[in-house]
Assembly symmetry: C5
């Protein structure tokens, strides 16, 4: 998995039908690479998150083939 | 998923039979990397798009194994 | 597979249900890239480990689809 | 998919049995990265080609599990 | 596939049970990246090899899910 910080959200009105409704967050990974991940957890700006990628991410959606290759699977507990 | 901007289109006359008919767009991702993605949405030059990659992309095509590892799944709404 | 050194551990309280309980270790790969991997072996800080990635990593978990795309499969014997 | 130019061919006499007979071409992708791809189309030196990667590439081979993770799926029409 | 040169071997005594017995070779790919690949061919130091990656590599092992995401599928014939 990779760790990153939420830096925004994107909207897509013109989209393929099988793309599930839900938040698509832009996440910046260490090194500056940006990934767009589906968020089932309701994460917010600046939150640190854990992302899984590839076919494993699509496996989260049951009963249909979701075209999702990046999924937020957890919010990382910040240390004080 | 990754975000990029359409910069062109490619044509391939000599191709394997299982490659579906349809637009193959060249998309430039942040950082300068270029990806060729299958476009089922009719996107145009300079449009900002969302791309899914890997076996998840091929899952869009039903009833046969499409040799497609990059698929445009949405056009990104531009903010004004 | 890739080789790396354990540099820490992360905790995630807010997480999707299918993420298995167990250690999530932060591993630094040569070149400085960091990966978060599920650890079924009880590895500790500074231990050198072998990581498998992608759907192959999820295959370790039986009977359900784990959203895990990086798995520690071995601790590397250090040479004296 | 990625776009590249054929720069050579490799031969492998000592190989695993499930590797299909056929051309293994060395392709240089923009940025200088080199990929070895299976070529079912008879492409030649300096030809510009389209490559699909991952399990999608192996899906081209029917009836057995080919250990092929990069496949030339088309020759790119050159513009005049 | 990618091409690389064998630079060493690693041993792992503390490992998950499903990791097959056999050689795990360290291979340096052009550009300096290092990959650890399972070797069913008995390759030696300094030998140039062809590696397949991802779930395709695991498909080589029959009857069980091997946690192997990199497999040596051939030794490259050296030109004189």
């Amino acid at each position: 998995m990779i760790k990153g910080r939420v830096i925004g959200r994107i909207w897509s009105t013109k989209r393929i039908e099988s793309l599930p409704q839900g938040a698509l967050l832009e996440v910046e990974v260490e090194g500056g690479v940006k990934v767009i991940a589906f968020d089932p957890l309701g994460c917010g700006d600046d939150e640190q998150v854990l992302i899984t990628q590839g076919s494993v991410a699509a496996g989260f959606f049951e009963g249909f083939k979701a075209p999702v290759d990046a999924l937020i699977i957890g919010s990382i507990d910040e240390h004080m």
